[in-house]
């Protein structure tokens, strides 16, 4: 049965991909991109990757779509036809595709438990996690502990992207919220936003600290937290959102998150371990691991929230009316 769902979802994804290429209206393409993300996220659930599904839904269907839409709104909607007939690209693409498909013939079958990818370090992680780290979610333990260096690198990449967007788009603070004529139409949205804003933030904290036991962690929680603020900004205007969490604070937060992460590493060195070796952080190795994972997830979360909001503010503050 799961096979059937897998096959149907992949088919739908393929059709959506073709439609995205064919369609000329970029706003429509942005909507299809959002659908594409949702479909791939549900595919990840079918393929057992719950953490990945959580991230893809929050990032692909949420923030990416909003950014693409904001860019379309800032530039132009219609796509011009290409000047040249796309014959050469078509040949290149078909040739590359054929070569890649030829390459897959040597790959192990889908779902094969003896595939080389399952023979290397993954069994060790699965086997050692309960004893060494003491958290049930192996994805969290690999992400935060076994491969903590990688994750530090990723967080730095996010931080750099935030700086890049800041350098390219700058920011414009809005002191006052414009009380334009359109605002009375937002009553329903505002009531709902007031109701949901605290719930979303609470849920983000749950995802952050429950990440050891279920799907979740710093990346996902950060994005959900930022989504809460985006909802607030949509309902009450960007100016009011910036009053709650001003731009200066965001820039500090982005740096603080990375620093917390690196500081945990240095702290563990000072306590006589290696860089990011959490078990020296407490008397009991397992408690130390818990503490370390908690702290670095917090750092990741803070950076991700800050960078997401920096990006969002950067894009949306360029839209003219500033109502959102």
């Amino acid at each position: 049965m799961e096979h059937l769902i897998d096959i149907v979802l992949l088919g739908l994804l393929m059709i959506t991909g073709f439609a995205i290429v064919r369609m000329r209206s970029l706003l429509a393409v942005a909507m299809l991109t959002s659908i594409y993300s949702l479909l791939s996220a549900s595919l990840f659930v079918v393929l057992d990757a719950v953490d990945v599904a959580l991230t893809e839904a929050a990032i692909g269907a949420g923030i990416s779509t909003i950014l693409i839409l904001a860019t379309v709104a800032l530039t132009s909607d219609e796509e011009k036809a290409p000047r040249h007939t796309p014959l050469l690209p078509l040949v290149v693409v078909i040739a590359t595709g054929a070569a890649l498909i030829y390459g897959t013939l040597d790959m192990p079958h889908y779902g094969d438990p003896t595939a080389p990818v399952h023979r290397h370090v993954a069994p060790t992680y699965l086997h050692d996690t309960p004893g060494e780290i003491g958290v049930p979610n192996v994805v969290t333990s690999v992400l935060a502990s076994y491969r903590g260096y990688d994750t530090l690198g990723e967080v730095t990449v996010i931080f750099t992207a935030g700086i890049g967007v800041l350098a390219l788009l700058g920011y414009r603070t809005r002191r006052r919220n414009s009380q334009g004529p359109g605002n009375r139409k937002l009553v329903v949205l505002r009531v709902i936003a007031k109701l949901f804003f605290p719930l979303i933030l609470l849920f983000a904290l749950y995802v952050l600290f429950h990440g050891d036991y279920g799907p979740g962690g710093g990346f996902q929680a950060g994005v959900i937290f930022a989504t809460g603020f985006i909802l607030y900004a949509l309902a009450f205007g960007l100016g009011n959102a910036q009053r709650i969490i001003p731009h200066q604070l965001l820039r500090i937060m982005a740096a603080v998150g990375v620093l917390i992460y690196a500081a945990v590493g240095i702290e563990s060195m000072l306590l006589g371990g290696k860089f990011l070796e959490y078990r020296v952080l407490a008397d009991d190795p397992v408690t130390g691991q818990h503490l370390g994972i908690m702290l670095i997830e917090l750092g990741v979360g803070i950076t991700v929230v800050a960078v997401m909001l920096i990006i969002y503010y950067g894009f949306v503050s360029r839209l003219h009316s500033g109502d959102m």
Binding site: K185, V188, L189, I192, L195, F196
Partner: protein, 105 residues
Amino acid sequence: MMDLVLDVLSWVCLLGGAIFLLIGAIGVLRFPDFYTRLHAVSICDTLGAGLVLVGLMLQGGLSLVTVKLLLIFYFMIFTGPTAVHALAEAALQSKLKPLVDDREP
């Protein structure tokens, strides 16, 4: 005995939800204009989704799963209508005309 009753109830709810989802989907495909399609989507969002979630709650029994399902239910009954309302508002705002039957009665 109690288990059997709960099971049957939950199957009834799930099947009912599925039927409403199907009806909503057909409506989205077949209705003539945007404003009529909104009605079809509302069926999916509230009745269809609600019944499926209730059916799952009956399966879950008294546990954290049911609490989460309740939370999803709670979110859904608020977000669905709000989103549809915002959509209708935005469409009206952009002067999208509803399709009117102007034949003589």
